[in-house]
Symmetry: C2
Protein backbone atom coordinates (compact mmCIF):
# COMPACT_ATOMS: atom_id res chain seq x y z
CA UNK A 1 0.00 0.00 0.00
CA UNK A 2 1.41 3.32 -1.09
CA UNK A 3 0.23 6.84 -0.34
CA UNK A 4 1.38 9.54 -2.77
CA UNK A 5 0.91 13.23 -2.00
CA UNK A 6 0.08 14.85 -5.35
CA UNK A 7 -0.30 18.24 -3.72
CA UNK A 8 -0.15 19.59 -0.20
CA UNK A 9 -1.49 23.14 -0.42
CA UNK A 10 -4.85 24.71 0.29
CA UNK A 11 -6.93 27.42 -1.36
CA UNK A 12 -4.87 28.05 -4.50
CA UNK A 13 -2.15 26.18 -6.36
CA UNK A 14 1.37 27.47 -5.74
CA UNK A 15 4.53 26.64 -7.70
CA UNK A 16 5.97 24.52 -4.89
CA UNK A 17 2.71 23.41 -3.30
CA UNK A 18 -0.08 22.25 -5.54
CA UNK A 19 -3.62 21.81 -4.29
CA UNK A 20 -4.11 18.94 -1.88
CA UNK A 21 -4.73 15.58 -3.47
CA UNK A 22 -3.76 12.17 -2.15
CA UNK A 23 -3.46 8.96 -4.16
CA UNK A 24 -3.66 5.69 -2.27
CA UNK A 25 -2.44 2.76 -4.37
CA UNK A 26 -3.24 -0.77 -3.29
CA UNK A 27 -3.67 -4.14 -4.98
CA UNK A 28 -3.84 -2.72 -8.48
CA UNK A 29 -6.30 0.04 -7.67
CA UNK A 30 -5.91 3.76 -6.99
CA UNK A 31 -8.16 5.61 -4.57
CA UNK A 32 -7.83 9.36 -4.98
CA UNK A 33 -8.80 11.83 -2.25
CA UNK A 34 -9.70 15.32 -3.49
CA UNK A 35 -8.81 16.69 -6.87
CA UNK A 36 -8.17 20.44 -7.11
CA UNK A 37 -7.28 22.39 -10.23
CA UNK A 38 -4.18 20.94 -11.89
CA UNK A 39 -4.21 17.52 -10.17
CA UNK A 40 -3.93 15.71 -13.51
CA UNK A 41 -0.40 17.06 -13.91
CA UNK A 42 1.22 15.43 -10.82
CA UNK A 43 -1.02 12.41 -11.43
CA UNK A 44 0.76 11.94 -14.76
CA UNK A 45 4.21 13.08 -13.62
CA UNK A 46 4.27 10.71 -10.66
CA UNK A 47 3.01 7.78 -12.76
CA UNK A 48 0.18 7.05 -10.35
CA UNK A 49 -1.61 4.97 -12.98
CA UNK A 50 -4.68 6.11 -14.90
CA UNK A 51 -6.14 2.69 -15.61
CA UNK A 52 -5.93 1.77 -11.94
CA UNK A 53 -7.93 4.83 -10.85
CA UNK A 54 -11.07 3.35 -9.31
CA UNK A 55 -12.47 5.86 -6.82
CA UNK A 56 -12.21 9.62 -6.41
CA UNK A 57 -13.42 10.64 -2.95
CA UNK A 58 -14.08 14.37 -2.63
CA UNK A 59 -14.45 16.11 0.70
CA UNK A 60 -16.63 19.05 -0.32
CA UNK A 61 -17.72 21.28 -3.16
CA UNK A 62 -15.18 24.07 -2.89
CA UNK A 63 -13.23 24.83 -6.03
CA UNK A 64 -9.80 23.98 -4.61
CA UNK A 65 -10.98 20.41 -3.92
CA UNK A 66 -12.86 19.46 -7.10
CA UNK A 67 -11.92 21.70 -10.04
CA UNK A 68 -9.34 19.19 -11.25
CA UNK A 69 -12.00 16.51 -11.68
CA UNK A 70 -13.19 17.44 -15.19
CA UNK A 71 -9.65 17.40 -16.57
CA UNK A 72 -8.86 14.10 -14.88
CA UNK A 73 -12.08 12.55 -16.18
CA UNK A 74 -11.17 13.64 -19.71
CA UNK A 75 -7.58 12.45 -19.38
CA UNK A 76 -8.93 9.05 -18.39
CA UNK A 77 -11.05 9.03 -21.57
CA UNK A 78 -7.86 9.07 -23.68
CA UNK A 79 -6.87 5.48 -22.95
CA UNK A 80 -8.43 2.54 -24.77
CA UNK A 81 -11.52 1.11 -23.09
CA UNK A 82 -11.37 2.85 -19.70
CA UNK A 83 -12.93 0.98 -16.79
CA UNK A 84 -15.83 2.52 -14.81
CA UNK A 85 -15.12 5.10 -12.13
CA UNK A 86 -16.78 5.82 -8.80
CA UNK A 87 -16.99 9.36 -7.41
CA UNK A 88 -17.79 9.98 -3.74
CA UNK A 89 -18.86 13.29 -2.28
CA UNK A 90 -21.52 15.50 -0.81
CA UNK A 91 -24.96 16.02 -2.38
CA UNK A 92 -24.43 18.39 -5.30
CA UNK A 93 -21.38 16.55 -6.66
CA UNK A 94 -23.50 14.83 -9.32
CA UNK A 95 -25.02 18.14 -10.40
CA UNK A 96 -21.58 19.78 -10.64
CA UNK A 97 -20.29 16.93 -12.82
CA UNK A 98 -23.41 16.92 -14.99
CA UNK A 99 -23.29 20.68 -15.50
CA UNK A 100 -19.64 20.78 -16.48
CA UNK A 101 -20.03 17.75 -18.76
CA UNK A 102 -22.92 19.37 -20.58
CA UNK A 103 -21.61 22.96 -20.60
CA UNK A 104 -18.20 21.96 -21.98
CA UNK A 105 -19.30 19.03 -24.15
CA UNK A 106 -16.84 16.76 -22.35
CA UNK A 107 -15.91 13.48 -24.05
CA UNK A 108 -16.32 10.69 -21.46
CA UNK A 109 -16.44 7.12 -22.76
CA UNK A 110 -16.90 5.12 -19.55
CA UNK A 111 -19.53 4.82 -16.82
CA UNK A 112 -19.26 7.18 -13.86
CA UNK A 113 -21.09 6.26 -10.69
CA UNK A 114 -21.59 9.19 -8.34
CA UNK A 115 -22.31 8.26 -4.73
CA UNK A 116 -23.42 11.17 -2.58
CA UNK A 117 -23.34 11.31 1.22
CA UNK A 118 -26.48 9.64 2.51
CA UNK A 119 -26.51 11.13 5.98
CA UNK A 120 -25.66 7.78 7.62
CA UNK A 121 -22.07 7.53 8.88
CA UNK A 122 -22.54 3.81 9.58
CA UNK A 123 -23.10 3.03 5.90
CA UNK A 124 -19.74 2.73 4.13
CA UNK A 125 -19.21 5.05 1.19
CA UNK A 126 -17.62 2.30 -0.88
CA UNK A 127 -16.51 -1.31 -0.65
CA UNK A 128 -14.60 -3.67 -2.93
CA UNK A 129 -12.78 -6.97 -2.37
CA UNK A 130 -9.80 -5.20 -0.77
CA UNK A 131 -10.96 -2.12 1.13
CA UNK A 132 -13.91 -0.32 2.65
CA UNK A 133 -14.14 3.47 2.69
CA UNK A 134 -16.06 5.15 5.52
CA UNK A 135 -17.07 8.79 5.77
CA UNK A 136 -18.13 11.25 8.44
CA UNK A 137 -19.45 14.80 8.27
CA UNK A 138 -17.03 17.40 9.59
CA UNK A 139 -17.48 21.06 10.56
CA UNK A 140 -16.68 23.45 7.70
CA UNK A 141 -18.52 26.42 6.19
CA UNK A 142 -20.28 23.95 3.89
CA UNK A 143 -20.97 20.23 4.32
CA UNK A 144 -17.57 18.55 4.25
CA UNK A 145 -16.71 14.86 4.61
CA UNK A 146 -13.73 13.15 6.17
CA UNK A 147 -12.69 9.70 4.95
CA UNK A 148 -11.24 6.55 6.44
CA UNK A 149 -10.04 3.73 4.21
CA UNK A 150 -9.75 0.31 5.82
CA UNK A 151 -8.02 -2.61 4.23
CA UNK A 152 -10.00 -5.79 4.93
CA UNK A 153 -8.83 -8.12 7.67
CA UNK A 154 -6.39 -10.81 6.62
CA UNK A 155 -6.68 -14.44 7.84
CA UNK A 156 -4.81 -15.20 11.04
CA UNK A 157 -1.24 -16.48 11.07
CA UNK A 158 -0.82 -20.19 10.14
CA UNK A 159 0.41 -22.40 12.99
CA UNK A 160 2.55 -25.24 11.50
CA UNK A 161 2.81 -27.00 14.89
CA UNK A 162 -0.99 -27.14 15.23
CA UNK A 163 -1.27 -28.49 11.68
CA UNK A 164 1.30 -31.20 12.46
CA UNK A 165 -0.53 -32.15 15.68
CA UNK A 166 -3.76 -32.57 13.70
CA UNK A 167 -1.95 -34.74 11.14
CA UNK A 168 -2.08 -32.35 8.17
CA UNK A 169 0.90 -33.21 5.97
CA UNK A 170 3.09 -30.33 4.84
CA UNK A 171 2.04 -29.48 1.24
CA UNK A 172 -0.97 -28.17 -0.68
CA UNK A 173 -3.39 -28.85 2.21
CA UNK A 174 -1.58 -26.20 4.26
CA UNK A 175 -2.25 -23.64 1.56
CA UNK A 176 -5.95 -24.55 1.41
CA UNK A 177 -6.27 -24.08 5.17
CA UNK A 178 -4.36 -20.76 4.98
CA UNK A 179 -6.83 -19.54 2.36
CA UNK A 180 -9.80 -20.41 4.52
CA UNK A 181 -10.94 -23.81 3.21
CA UNK A 182 -11.41 -26.92 5.34
CA UNK A 183 -9.54 -30.01 4.24
CA UNK A 184 -10.22 -33.75 4.30
CA UNK A 185 -7.30 -35.86 5.52
CA UNK A 186 -6.59 -39.28 4.00
CA UNK A 187 -7.65 -40.90 7.29
CA UNK A 188 -11.14 -39.35 6.94
CA UNK A 189 -10.73 -36.55 9.52
CA UNK A 190 -11.79 -32.98 8.64
CA UNK A 191 -9.63 -30.03 9.72
CA UNK A 192 -11.09 -26.56 9.77
CA UNK A 193 -9.06 -23.35 9.15
CA UNK A 194 -9.76 -21.92 12.59
CA UNK A 195 -8.00 -24.96 14.12
CA UNK A 196 -4.68 -23.95 12.54
CA UNK A 197 -5.01 -20.16 12.12
CA UNK A 198 -4.55 -17.44 14.70
CA UNK A 199 -6.98 -14.56 15.08
CA UNK A 200 -7.73 -12.54 11.92
CA UNK A 201 -5.13 -9.80 11.48
CA UNK A 202 -6.32 -6.27 10.90
CA UNK A 203 -5.50 -4.49 7.63
CA UNK A 204 -4.02 -1.02 7.20
CA UNK A 205 -6.18 2.00 7.98
CA UNK A 206 -5.65 5.46 6.52
CA UNK A 207 -7.59 8.68 7.22
CA UNK A 208 -7.94 11.74 5.00
CA UNK A 209 -9.27 14.83 6.72
CA UNK A 210 -9.29 18.40 5.54
CA UNK A 211 -11.28 21.63 5.87
CA UNK A 212 -12.83 21.34 9.29
CA UNK A 213 -12.87 22.87 12.73
CA UNK A 214 -12.36 20.40 15.60
CA UNK A 215 -15.51 18.26 15.72
CA UNK A 216 -16.95 14.91 16.82
CA UNK A 217 -16.42 13.34 13.42
CA UNK A 218 -12.64 13.37 13.78
CA UNK A 219 -12.41 10.64 16.42
CA UNK A 220 -14.06 7.75 14.55
CA UNK A 221 -12.14 8.68 11.42
CA UNK A 222 -8.77 8.84 13.17
CA UNK A 223 -9.15 6.05 15.76
CA UNK A 224 -5.90 4.02 15.75
CA UNK A 225 -5.23 4.54 12.04
CA UNK A 226 -1.80 3.65 10.74
CA UNK A 227 -1.53 6.94 8.91
CA UNK A 228 -3.59 10.11 8.99
CA UNK A 229 -3.43 12.87 6.40
CA UNK A 230 -4.89 15.91 8.16
CA UNK A 231 -5.01 19.54 7.19
CA UNK A 232 -2.53 21.77 8.96
CA UNK A 233 -3.93 24.87 7.34
CA UNK A 234 -2.79 27.37 9.94
CA UNK A 235 -0.14 28.03 12.58
CA UNK A 236 -1.29 28.47 16.17
CA UNK A 237 -0.77 32.22 15.83
CA UNK A 238 -3.64 32.20 13.30
CA UNK A 239 -6.10 30.45 15.63
CA UNK A 240 -8.73 33.17 15.23
CA UNK A 241 -8.50 32.92 11.45
CA UNK A 242 -8.77 29.12 11.65
CA UNK A 243 -11.85 29.34 13.90
CA UNK A 244 -13.58 31.84 11.66
CA UNK A 245 -12.88 29.90 8.45
CA UNK A 246 -13.57 26.52 10.08
CA UNK A 247 -10.11 25.05 9.61
CA UNK A 248 -7.69 23.21 11.87
CA UNK A 249 -4.44 24.64 13.05
CA UNK A 250 -1.52 22.24 12.76
CA UNK A 251 -1.54 21.84 16.54
CA UNK A 252 -5.24 21.03 16.61
CA UNK A 253 -4.67 18.40 13.93
CA UNK A 254 -1.85 16.85 15.99
CA UNK A 255 -3.94 16.88 19.17
CA UNK A 256 -6.94 15.25 17.53
CA UNK A 257 -4.69 12.56 16.07
CA UNK A 258 -3.05 11.92 19.40
CA UNK A 259 -6.36 11.64 21.25
CA UNK A 260 -7.47 9.07 18.68
CA UNK A 261 -4.15 7.23 18.92
CA UNK A 262 -3.45 7.68 15.24
CA UNK A 263 0.06 6.27 14.79
CA UNK A 264 1.44 8.67 12.26
CA UNK A 265 0.36 12.08 10.96
CA UNK A 266 1.20 13.89 7.74
CA UNK A 267 -0.03 17.48 7.53
CA UNK A 268 -1.48 18.60 4.20
CA UNK A 269 -3.58 21.53 2.89
CA UNK A 270 -1.20 24.21 4.12
CA UNK A 271 -2.17 27.83 3.62
CA UNK A 272 -0.46 29.52 0.65
CA UNK A 273 0.77 32.16 3.10
CA UNK A 274 3.48 29.76 4.32
CA UNK A 275 6.74 29.45 2.42
CA UNK A 276 8.99 26.42 2.93
CA UNK A 277 10.57 27.79 6.12
CA UNK A 278 7.22 28.75 7.65
CA UNK A 279 5.82 25.32 6.79
CA UNK A 280 8.80 23.78 8.57
CA UNK A 281 8.07 25.89 11.66
CA UNK A 282 4.44 24.79 11.50
CA UNK A 283 5.60 21.18 11.61
CA UNK A 284 7.84 21.86 14.59
CA UNK A 285 5.09 23.42 16.67
CA UNK A 286 2.69 20.58 15.81
CA UNK A 287 5.27 17.82 16.42
CA UNK A 288 5.27 18.75 20.12
CA UNK A 289 1.73 17.33 20.24
CA UNK A 290 2.18 14.05 18.38
CA UNK A 291 5.08 11.57 18.47
CA UNK A 292 5.23 10.90 14.73
CA UNK A 293 4.25 13.89 12.64
CA UNK A 294 5.61 15.56 9.55
CA UNK A 295 4.61 18.21 7.04
CA UNK A 296 3.88 16.88 3.55
CA UNK A 297 5.80 17.97 0.50
CA UNK A 298 4.45 17.50 -3.01
CA UNK A 299 5.46 14.14 -4.43
CA UNK A 300 5.98 12.48 -1.04
CA UNK A 301 5.53 8.71 -1.30
CA UNK A 302 4.86 6.66 1.83
CA UNK A 303 5.06 2.86 1.76
CA UNK A 304 2.72 1.52 4.40
CA UNK A 305 3.88 -1.92 5.61
CA UNK A 306 1.48 -4.56 6.83
CA UNK A 307 0.96 -4.35 10.57
CA UNK A 308 2.39 -7.28 12.57
CA UNK B 1 2.77 46.40 -25.39
CA UNK B 2 3.86 42.99 -24.15
CA UNK B 3 2.62 39.53 -25.06
CA UNK B 4 3.31 36.79 -22.52
CA UNK B 5 2.76 33.13 -23.37
CA UNK B 6 1.44 31.56 -20.15
CA UNK B 7 1.08 28.19 -21.84
CA UNK B 8 1.61 26.84 -25.33
CA UNK B 9 0.07 23.35 -25.30
CA UNK B 10 -3.25 21.95 -26.40
CA UNK B 11 -5.66 19.36 -25.05
CA UNK B 12 -4.03 18.63 -21.68
CA UNK B 13 -1.48 20.36 -19.48
CA UNK B 14 2.02 18.89 -19.66
CA UNK B 15 4.96 19.56 -17.33
CA UNK B 16 6.85 21.60 -19.93
CA UNK B 17 3.86 22.87 -21.90
CA UNK B 18 0.87 24.18 -20.03
CA UNK B 19 -2.45 24.79 -21.70
CA UNK B 20 -2.49 27.68 -24.14
CA UNK B 21 -3.14 31.07 -22.62
CA UNK B 22 -1.84 34.42 -23.79
CA UNK B 23 -1.63 37.61 -21.74
CA UNK B 24 -1.41 40.90 -23.62
CA UNK B 25 -0.33 43.76 -21.38
CA UNK B 26 -0.80 47.33 -22.52
CA UNK B 27 -1.27 50.71 -20.88
CA UNK B 28 -1.95 49.30 -17.43
CA UNK B 29 -4.42 46.66 -18.57
CA UNK B 30 -4.13 42.95 -19.21
CA UNK B 31 -6.18 41.21 -21.90
CA UNK B 32 -6.07 37.44 -21.48
CA UNK B 33 -6.82 35.02 -24.32
CA UNK B 34 -8.04 31.59 -23.23
CA UNK B 35 -7.66 30.18 -19.76
CA UNK B 36 -7.25 26.40 -19.47
CA UNK B 37 -6.86 24.41 -16.26
CA UNK B 38 -3.92 25.71 -14.24
CA UNK B 39 -3.55 29.12 -15.92
CA UNK B 40 -3.60 30.92 -12.57
CA UNK B 41 -0.22 29.39 -11.74
CA UNK B 42 1.85 30.93 -14.59
CA UNK B 43 -0.28 34.05 -14.25
CA UNK B 44 1.10 34.44 -10.73
CA UNK B 45 4.59 33.13 -11.43
CA UNK B 46 5.16 35.48 -14.36
CA UNK B 47 3.77 38.47 -12.41
CA UNK B 48 1.31 39.35 -15.14
CA UNK B 49 -0.68 41.52 -12.75
CA UNK B 50 -4.00 40.55 -11.22
CA UNK B 51 -5.38 44.03 -10.68
CA UNK B 52 -4.68 44.94 -14.29
CA UNK B 53 -6.68 41.99 -15.63
CA UNK B 54 -9.51 43.62 -17.54
CA UNK B 55 -10.72 41.18 -20.21
CA UNK B 56 -10.61 37.41 -20.60
CA UNK B 57 -11.42 36.45 -24.19
CA UNK B 58 -12.23 32.76 -24.60
CA UNK B 59 -12.27 31.04 -27.97
CA UNK B 60 -14.71 28.21 -27.25
CA UNK B 61 -16.26 26.04 -24.57
CA UNK B 62 -13.87 23.12 -24.54
CA UNK B 63 -12.34 22.26 -21.19
CA UNK B 64 -8.73 22.95 -22.17
CA UNK B 65 -9.63 26.57 -22.98
CA UNK B 66 -11.84 27.62 -20.05
CA UNK B 67 -11.38 25.34 -17.04
CA UNK B 68 -8.85 27.72 -15.49
CA UNK B 69 -11.40 30.53 -15.39
CA UNK B 70 -13.07 29.67 -12.05
CA UNK B 71 -9.73 29.54 -10.26
CA UNK B 72 -8.56 32.79 -11.82
CA UNK B 73 -11.84 34.50 -10.92
CA UNK B 74 -11.44 33.38 -7.30
CA UNK B 75 -7.77 34.38 -7.17
CA UNK B 76 -8.83 37.83 -8.31
CA UNK B 77 -11.31 37.99 -5.42
CA UNK B 78 -8.43 37.78 -2.94
CA UNK B 79 -7.16 41.32 -3.49
CA UNK B 80 -8.79 44.32 -1.87
CA UNK B 81 -11.58 45.91 -3.92
CA UNK B 82 -11.08 44.16 -7.27
CA UNK B 83 -12.16 46.09 -10.35
CA UNK B 84 -14.87 44.72 -12.69
CA UNK B 85 -13.96 42.09 -15.26
CA UNK B 86 -15.25 41.44 -18.78
CA UNK B 87 -15.45 37.93 -20.21
CA UNK B 88 -15.82 37.35 -23.93
CA UNK B 89 -16.86 34.09 -25.56
CA UNK B 90 -19.44 32.02 -27.36
CA UNK B 91 -23.07 31.69 -26.24
CA UNK B 92 -23.02 29.30 -23.28
CA UNK B 93 -20.08 30.97 -21.54
CA UNK B 94 -22.42 32.79 -19.17
CA UNK B 95 -24.24 29.57 -18.29
CA UNK B 96 -20.94 27.76 -17.63
CA UNK B 97 -19.79 30.54 -15.30
CA UNK B 98 -23.15 30.72 -13.54
CA UNK B 99 -23.28 26.96 -13.03
CA UNK B 100 -19.79 26.67 -11.60
CA UNK B 101 -20.30 29.73 -9.37
CA UNK B 102 -23.49 28.26 -7.94
CA UNK B 103 -22.37 24.62 -7.77
CA UNK B 104 -19.11 25.45 -5.96
CA UNK B 105 -20.33 28.43 -3.94
CA UNK B 106 -17.56 30.58 -5.40
CA UNK B 107 -16.66 33.79 -3.61
CA UNK B 108 -16.61 36.60 -6.20
CA UNK B 109 -16.70 40.18 -4.91
CA UNK B 110 -16.64 42.18 -8.14
CA UNK B 111 -18.91 42.60 -11.16
CA UNK B 112 -18.40 40.23 -14.08
CA UNK B 113 -19.78 41.24 -17.44
CA UNK B 114 -20.13 38.32 -19.85
CA UNK B 115 -20.35 39.29 -23.52
CA UNK B 116 -21.32 36.45 -25.80
CA UNK B 117 -20.77 36.30 -29.56
CA UNK B 118 -23.65 38.14 -31.20
CA UNK B 119 -23.33 36.65 -34.68
CA UNK B 120 -22.12 39.93 -36.17
CA UNK B 121 -18.39 40.00 -36.97
CA UNK B 122 -18.56 43.73 -37.70
CA UNK B 123 -19.55 44.56 -34.13
CA UNK B 124 -16.43 44.69 -31.94
CA UNK B 125 -16.37 42.35 -28.98
CA UNK B 126 -14.92 45.01 -26.71
CA UNK B 127 -13.60 48.55 -26.79
CA UNK B 128 -11.88 50.82 -24.28
CA UNK B 129 -9.83 54.01 -24.57
CA UNK B 130 -6.78 52.07 -25.79
CA UNK B 131 -7.84 49.07 -27.84
CA UNK B 132 -10.67 47.42 -29.73
CA UNK B 133 -11.08 43.66 -29.84
CA UNK B 134 -12.72 42.07 -32.89
CA UNK B 135 -13.86 38.49 -33.29
CA UNK B 136 -14.71 36.09 -36.09
CA UNK B 137 -16.24 32.62 -36.09
CA UNK B 138 -13.79 29.88 -37.10
CA UNK B 139 -14.30 26.25 -38.14
CA UNK B 140 -13.99 23.81 -35.23
CA UNK B 141 -16.17 20.96 -33.98
CA UNK B 142 -18.08 23.51 -31.90
CA UNK B 143 -18.51 27.26 -32.38
CA UNK B 144 -15.05 28.77 -31.88
CA UNK B 145 -13.97 32.40 -32.12
CA UNK B 146 -10.72 33.96 -33.30
CA UNK B 147 -9.67 37.36 -31.93
CA UNK B 148 -7.89 40.42 -33.21
CA UNK B 149 -6.85 43.18 -30.84
CA UNK B 150 -6.19 46.59 -32.36
CA UNK B 151 -4.53 49.41 -30.55
CA UNK B 152 -6.23 52.70 -31.45
CA UNK B 153 -4.62 54.96 -34.00
CA UNK B 154 -2.23 57.54 -32.62
CA UNK B 155 -2.20 61.17 -33.83
CA UNK B 156 0.13 61.87 -36.77
CA UNK B 157 3.72 62.96 -36.27
CA UNK B 158 4.17 66.63 -35.22
CA UNK B 159 5.87 68.80 -37.83
CA UNK B 160 7.92 71.52 -36.04
CA UNK B 161 8.71 73.30 -39.34
CA UNK B 162 5.00 73.62 -40.16
CA UNK B 163 4.34 74.95 -36.65
CA UNK B 164 7.11 77.53 -37.04
CA UNK B 165 5.76 78.63 -40.44
CA UNK B 166 2.34 79.19 -38.87
CA UNK B 167 3.90 81.25 -36.08
CA UNK B 168 3.28 78.80 -33.20
CA UNK B 169 5.98 79.51 -30.62
CA UNK B 170 7.86 76.51 -29.28
CA UNK B 171 6.33 75.66 -25.87
CA UNK B 172 3.05 74.46 -24.36
CA UNK B 173 1.04 75.28 -27.53
CA UNK B 174 2.97 72.58 -29.39
CA UNK B 175 1.83 70.03 -26.85
CA UNK B 176 -1.80 71.13 -27.15
CA UNK B 177 -1.66 70.70 -30.93
CA UNK B 178 0.04 67.32 -30.55
CA UNK B 179 -2.81 66.21 -28.29
CA UNK B 180 -5.43 67.25 -30.81
CA UNK B 181 -6.56 70.69 -29.56
CA UNK B 182 -6.58 73.82 -31.70
CA UNK B 183 -4.71 76.82 -30.30
CA UNK B 184 -5.20 80.58 -30.39
CA UNK B 185 -2.02 82.55 -31.16
CA UNK B 186 -1.36 85.91 -29.50
CA UNK B 187 -1.90 87.62 -32.85
CA UNK B 188 -5.48 86.25 -33.00
CA UNK B 189 -4.92 83.46 -35.55
CA UNK B 190 -6.21 79.94 -34.87
CA UNK B 191 -4.10 76.90 -35.73
CA UNK B 192 -5.73 73.49 -36.04
CA UNK B 193 -3.94 70.19 -35.23
CA UNK B 194 -4.26 68.84 -38.76
CA UNK B 195 -2.16 71.81 -39.99
CA UNK B 196 0.86 70.60 -38.02
CA UNK B 197 0.30 66.83 -37.73
CA UNK B 198 0.95 64.11 -40.29
CA UNK B 199 -1.55 61.35 -41.04
CA UNK B 200 -2.79 59.36 -38.03
CA UNK B 201 -0.40 56.47 -37.27
CA UNK B 202 -1.82 53.01 -36.90
CA UNK B 203 -1.52 51.16 -33.60
CA UNK B 204 -0.29 47.63 -33.02
CA UNK B 205 -2.47 44.71 -34.07
CA UNK B 206 -2.29 41.22 -32.59
CA UNK B 207 -4.29 38.11 -33.55
CA UNK B 208 -5.08 35.07 -31.40
CA UNK B 209 -6.34 32.05 -33.30
CA UNK B 210 -6.68 28.49 -32.14
CA UNK B 211 -8.77 25.37 -32.73
CA UNK B 212 -9.88 25.73 -36.32
CA UNK B 213 -9.55 24.20 -39.74
CA UNK B 214 -8.58 26.64 -42.51
CA UNK B 215 -11.58 28.95 -43.00
CA UNK B 216 -12.71 32.35 -44.26
CA UNK B 217 -12.52 33.91 -40.80
CA UNK B 218 -8.74 33.67 -40.72
CA UNK B 219 -8.02 36.39 -43.26
CA UNK B 220 -9.77 39.37 -41.60
CA UNK B 221 -8.28 38.34 -38.27
CA UNK B 222 -4.73 38.01 -39.60
CA UNK B 223 -4.67 40.82 -42.20
CA UNK B 224 -1.34 42.68 -41.76
CA UNK B 225 -1.16 42.11 -38.00
CA UNK B 226 2.13 42.84 -36.29
CA UNK B 227 2.00 39.53 -34.46
CA UNK B 228 -0.19 36.46 -34.80
CA UNK B 229 -0.48 33.70 -32.23
CA UNK B 230 -1.86 30.75 -34.18
CA UNK B 231 -2.29 27.14 -33.26
CA UNK B 232 0.28 24.77 -34.72
CA UNK B 233 -1.47 21.75 -33.31
CA UNK B 234 -0.14 19.17 -35.76
CA UNK B 235 2.78 18.39 -38.05
CA UNK B 236 2.07 18.02 -41.75
CA UNK B 237 2.33 14.25 -41.37
CA UNK B 238 -0.82 14.41 -39.21
CA UNK B 239 -2.87 16.30 -41.83
CA UNK B 240 -5.67 13.71 -41.75
CA UNK B 241 -5.90 13.97 -37.98
CA UNK B 242 -5.96 17.77 -38.20
CA UNK B 243 -8.74 17.69 -40.80
CA UNK B 244 -10.86 15.29 -38.81
CA UNK B 245 -10.46 17.20 -35.54
CA UNK B 246 -10.78 20.61 -37.23
CA UNK B 247 -7.33 21.89 -36.31
CA UNK B 248 -4.55 23.60 -38.25
CA UNK B 249 -1.24 22.01 -39.03
CA UNK B 250 1.73 24.27 -38.36
CA UNK B 251 2.20 24.65 -42.11
CA UNK B 252 -1.43 25.64 -42.65
CA UNK B 253 -1.05 28.25 -39.89
CA UNK B 254 2.06 29.65 -41.58
CA UNK B 255 0.39 29.73 -44.99
CA UNK B 256 -2.71 31.51 -43.72
CA UNK B 257 -0.53 34.09 -41.97
CA UNK B 258 1.56 34.64 -45.08
CA UNK B 259 -1.50 35.07 -47.31
CA UNK B 260 -2.79 37.71 -44.88
CA UNK B 261 0.64 39.38 -44.71
CA UNK B 262 0.85 38.90 -40.96
CA UNK B 263 4.34 40.10 -40.10
CA UNK B 264 5.27 37.65 -37.41
CA UNK B 265 3.87 34.30 -36.27
CA UNK B 266 4.21 32.45 -32.99
CA UNK B 267 2.79 28.93 -32.95
CA UNK B 268 0.88 27.89 -29.84
CA UNK B 269 -1.51 25.07 -28.81
CA UNK B 270 0.88 22.27 -29.76
CA UNK B 271 -0.34 18.72 -29.39
CA UNK B 272 0.89 16.93 -26.24
CA UNK B 273 2.29 14.23 -28.54
CA UNK B 274 5.26 16.50 -29.40
CA UNK B 275 8.27 16.64 -27.13
CA UNK B 276 10.71 19.55 -27.32
CA UNK B 277 12.59 18.09 -30.31
CA UNK B 278 9.41 17.30 -32.23
CA UNK B 279 8.10 20.82 -31.54
CA UNK B 280 11.34 22.20 -32.93
CA UNK B 281 10.91 20.12 -36.09
CA UNK B 282 7.34 21.41 -36.39
CA UNK B 283 8.70 24.95 -36.34
CA UNK B 284 11.25 24.14 -39.02
CA UNK B 285 8.69 22.75 -41.45
CA UNK B 286 6.34 25.71 -40.85
CA UNK B 287 9.11 28.32 -41.12
CA UNK B 288 9.53 27.39 -44.78
CA UNK B 289 6.12 28.98 -45.34
CA UNK B 290 6.50 32.26 -43.45
CA UNK B 291 9.50 34.57 -43.17
CA UNK B 292 9.21 35.25 -39.43
CA UNK B 293 7.84 32.30 -37.49
CA UNK B 294 8.73 30.57 -34.26
CA UNK B 295 7.30 27.96 -31.90
CA UNK B 296 6.21 29.33 -28.53
CA UNK B 297 7.65 28.15 -25.27
CA UNK B 298 5.92 28.68 -21.95
CA UNK B 299 6.92 31.99 -20.39
CA UNK B 300 7.94 33.62 -23.69
CA UNK B 301 7.64 37.40 -23.47
CA UNK B 302 7.48 39.49 -26.63
CA UNK B 303 7.84 43.28 -26.52
CA UNK B 304 5.93 44.73 -29.43
CA UNK B 305 7.41 48.10 -30.44
CA UNK B 306 5.32 50.87 -31.93
CA UNK B 307 5.27 50.69 -35.73
CA UNK B 308 7.08 53.56 -37.49
Amino acid sequence: MQCIVLGSGGMMPMPQRRLTSLALRHAGRVYLFDCGEGTQLPYKELHVGLRALTVVATTHLHADHVLGLPGLLMLRAQMPDPPPLTLLGVPGLRRFIEHVRADLGMFINYPIQVIEWSGDPQAPAYRDDQVTIYWQPLDHRVLCLGYRLEEHERPGRFDPAAAARLGVPCGPLWGQLQHGSEVLLSGGAIVRPEQVLGLPRRGRHVAFITDTAPCAGLQPLLRAVDLAFIEGMFAAAEQADADEKRHLTAIQAAQAARRAEARRVILVHLSPRYDAAAAQALGVEAAAHHPLLEVARDGLLVELPLPD
